[in-house]
């Protein structure tokens, strides 16, 4: 009896989580003329792949923008985070903990509270409407979380290891290169997944700081779906395209994804 109830509940929950996906795929595979509201749940006959081609053509520049943006900002912020975490975990100085705490505060602010000065600043330095501006912004506002993850990770590396390398004559960068960096792969994976997902999915900065030619895919999708004239097959195919990279990360690196999620859970 209890088991029946349990599986019944899980089945219902699975439907709640998967039915939207079913509908999205269905709609993306329908001929535009056949997308009528009362037949939305019917499987397409025949299956129509053309929407994906159209959506890909429409979204390819934005998809490329997103890829360039997410990959370069992720790489940069992982580098910054590794160095910061290394300093804070292995070379603390007086007041470094306070500075770290002040840094962490940047994780919690709602970005609406700095959006107007940020907009002016990016405009003033001539980066408004470029991908560079957006990369800069993502790297800067990523500093708290990536520093946190690396600092926590590097705290686990025994100090004796660093001490031994120092006695052998290694300096600040020598120790980083030869002792710390070779041990860092898991932290890099967690940070890379976290930042890539966040930046790929981000919308507020993107919509405020870009022009059409530098828009990432989230902005383009929101604008396409918001228009009334478009048939739904395009937004749905576009949604699948926009979701694919982060979904693949989730499916293939799920364990790390979850770890990053819990590590960054206070950020939201």
């Amino acid at each position: 009896m209890g088991r029946v109830f349990l599986y019944g509940f899980l089945l219902l929950a699975t439907l709640f989580f998967l039915l939207p996906v079913y509908l999205v795929v269905l709609t993306a595979l329908k001929e535009p003329a056949k997308i009528t509201l009362d037949a939305v749940w019917r499987w397409p006959d025949p299956v129509y792949w053309e929407s994906f081609r159209t959506a890909w053509e429409a979204f390819r520049p934005k998809f490329q923008n997103s890829a360039v943006l997410a990959l370069s900002a992720t790489a940069l912020s992982a580098l910054v985070g590794a160095l910061n975490g290394y300093v804070l975990a292995k070379w603390p100085f007086r007041g470094s903990n306070l500075l770290f705490a002040l840094m962490l505060f940047g994780m919690f602010i709602p970005y609406q509270s700095i959006l107007i000065p940020l907009f002016q600043f990016v405009k003033a330095i001539g980066l408004y409407g470029t991908l560079w501006g957006l990369i800069l912004v993502h790297v800067v506002y990523g500093i708290p979380i990536v520093t946190l993850i690396f600092k926590n990770y590097y705290s686990e590396i025994p100090d004796e290891l660093v001490e031994a390398a120092r006695i052998d004559g290694a300096g600040f960068f020598g120790i980083f290169r030869h002792v710390v960096l070779p041990l860092s792969a898991p932290a890099f994976v967690v940070v890379a997944i976290w930042q890539f997902t966040q930046i790929w999915n981000e919308f507020l900065f993107a919509v405020t700081l870009t022009r059409p030619e530098s828009q990432p895919i989230t902005v383009a999708l929101a604008q396409l779906a918001g228009g009334e004239a478009v048939k739904w097959n395009l937004p749905m195919a576009g949604a699948i395209l926009a979701a694919l990279p982060t979904l693949l990360v989730y499916i293939f690196l799920g364990r790390y994804f979850l770890r990053g999620l819990l590590a960054g859970s206070v950020k939201g």
Binding site: L6, L10, A13, T14, F16, F17, L18, P20, V21, L23, L37, N84, V87, F93, L99, M103, G106, F108, I109, P110, Q112, I114, L115, I116, P117, L118, F119, F121, V140, Y141, G171, F172, F173, W200, N201, F203, L204, T208, T218, L221, A222, A225, G226, W232, P235, M236, G238, A239, A242, A243, L247, Y250, I251, L258, L261, L262, S265, V266, K267, G268
Partner: protein, 369 residues
């Protein structure tokens, strides 16, 4: 020594960047919120606008001014959205976690399914659910697959409101709720035997409640009644947000459930506790700290929710407005930068009220360890 200097120099750029982009910008935003930038359209987009200091005028207008009625509805929307979104995500997340903890077959599959929306952008979720919630399609025709009549709820396009109250009563309700919370804190302090904390919470609670029952009833923010309520167009948005985030609470709760020592559960069994009693008196109390952290995270997301609503209803639809949307609309569509900045500061204050005590308590725990 040289290495120490190198270490500091390596950290320095990040410190400067955070200093400017977080603290500098917050300061500048605060200053902008005290000016009249945007009042005069000719000045609004000027390269070097002449800004006049107007003090708290923008804040006053937002809460009591004639033109900003939409801001006030957005605040009410935010309150209801936060409550239902948190309640929904926590409730569903807990149910899912308890179900998975009972070891059904295919647990890994279910976990993957419940968690995948987390990998999506709010914009993707919003686009999907916008389509699902079309008045004559999607969810509404779902019952016809089982031979039932279709639903007729217009979801995102409804203008209906429930739980309507007069904006003038807001200070009264706020005082009332805060007073009750303080009473509760006092009761907790009493049980923990902390005399000082009990005294201060009881004192401030009684002052607030006294104010609410005497002067508070006569406070008039506006010269006329202004009804606001829970906008039913938000139901669909809440549904989508819960769909996206309840997998996250499930993951948190599941980790918590798996962390409960077996001896504790066995002790409860030996004491003859029924299954329900074990949950009620042993397991749920142990999950309370997780609930608190999840509430902080979800509350934080709720306060700045923007992309989901942008993608589901757009910027221009007042019934689903929240302060983050209205802020964007004012500043980047209407060039009313000062007022937009004021909303940004209000959101920051709200987040600070939630996050700072939490951080402080976490820090205290860390020190004690």
């Amino acid at each position: 020594m040289r290495d120490r200097i190198t270490a500091f120099l390596v950290l320095l750029p990040s410190l400067v960047a955070v200093g400017i982009f977080v603290y500098g910008f917050i300061g500048q935003n605060l200053w902008v919120s005290f000016t009249d930038w945007g009042k005069n359209p000719a000045q609004a987009l000027a390269l070097r606008p002449e800004l006049r200091f107007v003090g708290l005028e923008n804040y006053r207008e937002l809460f009591t001014g004639f033109v900003d009625v939409r801001f006030r509805q957005s605040v009410v929307n935010l309150i209801f959205f936060t409550l239902f979104f948190m309640g929904g995500s926590l409730g569903l997340g807990l149910l899912l976690a308890v179900a998975l903890d009972r070891g059904p077959k295919g647990e890994g599959f279910f976990r993957t399914v419940f968690l995948f929306p987390m990998a999506l952008s709010f914009v993707v979720t919003g686009t999907i659910w916008r389509w699902l919630l079309q008045p004559q399609g999607g969810v509404n025709v779902l019952p016809t697959l089982f031979g039932l009549p279709p639903l007729g709820f217009p979801w995102l396009t409804t203008r209906a409101q429930v739980l309507v109250f007069d904006w003038n009563q807001l200070p009264l309700y706020t005082a009332f709720v805060v007073g009750l919370v303080l009473l509760y804190l006092g009761w907790q302090a009493h049980r923990a035997g902390e005399g000082k904390r009990r005294f201060w919470s009881l004192l401030s609670a009684s002052v607030l409640l006294l104010w609410a029952f005497t002067l508070g009833r006569h406070v008039q923010l506006l010269p006329y009644p202004e009804p606001h309520g829970f906008s039913l167009a938000l139901v669909g948005v809440i549904l989508a947000a819960v769909w996206q985030m309840s997998g996250y609470t499930m993951a948190l709760y599941l980790a918590g459930l798996r962390g409960i020592p077996v001896e504790v559960l066995e002790a409860a069994k030996v004491d003859g506790a029924s299954e329900w009693q074990t949950y009620r008196h042993v397991i749920f109390p142990l999950l309370a700290p997780i609930t608190l952290s999840a509430m902080i995270v979800l509350g934080h997301i709720a306060l700045k929710i923007f992309d989901l609503i942008f993608a589901m209803a757009g910027l221009d639809y007042a019934p689903t407005d929240v302060p983050a949307i209205y802020m964007y609309l004012l500043a980047f569509r209407g060039n009313q930068f000062a007022k937009g900045a004021a909303i940004g500061i209000l959101l920051l204050l709200l987040v600070a009220v939630v996050v700072i005590p939490y951080l402080a308590s976490q820090l205290k725990k860390e020190v004690q360890r």
